[in-house]
Subunit: 177 residues, 2 copies
């Protein structure tokens, strides 16, 4: 086991932990780490060996990684194997995930806050305690405001990042030693 391998293993382990932190399978993090640290497209059988899981598990994990835009399928002509490369533009990954948030659970949940407000606003006045109703509306609006601001924030940054590759990084790099 060379020092290079040690560093690589350490990195891959870190990716596993990050995945785990985000509620994703540890193996998914490891797979991304392996592909990310390869200078050539990686076939499935290598992932099976290096991540230490079966074909089936690699297959399902890699499909999800692909959907999230973290990896890309790469096909070599005259070779039936599927190869995979890592997306290395992390801002692009975030952008893709944000774009697809319309469809996802998190967005749906956030929207339900807006729905709840609407439900209260259109509630029959005679049938509901106005003090409670207005308290609910106040609290819910507070939360909705926060989510909307967060959303604007992220959108703004991704827009800046689109204008000129690496803008944000440059701004902050100037302030670092």
């Amino acid at each position: 086991m060379s020092q290079l391998d040690d560093a690589r293993n350490n990195f891959i382990q870190g990716m596993s932990r990050i995945a785990n932190f985000w509620g994703l399978p540890r193996a998914m993090g490891a797979i991304y780490g392996i592909i990310y640290l390869s200078n050539e497209p990686v076939p499935l059988n290598v992932l099976v060996k290096d991540a230490g899981i079966t074909k089936g598990a690699v297959s399902t994990n890699i499909r999800i990684l692909g959907r999230m835009g973290l990896i890309h399928k790469y096909i070599k002509v005259g070779d039936r194997k599927d190869y995979y490369t890592a997306e290395i533009d992390f801002w692009l990954i975030i952008k893709k995930i944000m774009k697809e948030r319309e469809k996802n659970e998190f967005n749906h949940a956030i929207k339900s806050v807006g729905n709840s407000i609407q439900m209260l606003k259109s509630a029959d006045v005679n049938d509901s305690d106005p003090a409670i109703s207005s308290f609910y509306i106040e609290r819910m609006k507070e939360m909705k405001g926060f989510f909307d601001t967060l959303d604007s924030l992220v959108s703004a940054f991704l827009a800046i990042e689109s204008l000129s590759q690496g803008t944000i990084k440059k701004i902050f790099d100037r302030n670092r030693n």
Copy 2:
């Protein structure tokens, strides 16, 4: 079941889903939702009833919510019950979570990327392929740069938000209809 209750249930359900999305117990989201939508401190027995889980489960969930700064314990004199109130300043919650990130798993994992780079830099030159080593370093630095930038970004926003309450919200509200 009044329209008010419908809206409340809808909101609490939304909180459960958001919790679930972040890899937290659904019940934890529900508990926070219940407390958040109460204009007075909520005792444990109400949470048991409204969230539909046992005392034990409420007890453990509420401890974690407290650690995350999402709720606060509130003690009434001459009353042995513990009551709970919701922290409604979400920026403060983020700030607290960020401050405690030093101790947490995510930060540890991110640091491991920096460690891996160090391992490569201090690797015995004679004992390692320089092409692979420099490729590894390049990739790892790319990722570390991204994490550092993200970290700076979040810190900057929280600093702005600290300077004057609600600054960010105001900036974006101006741009909304």
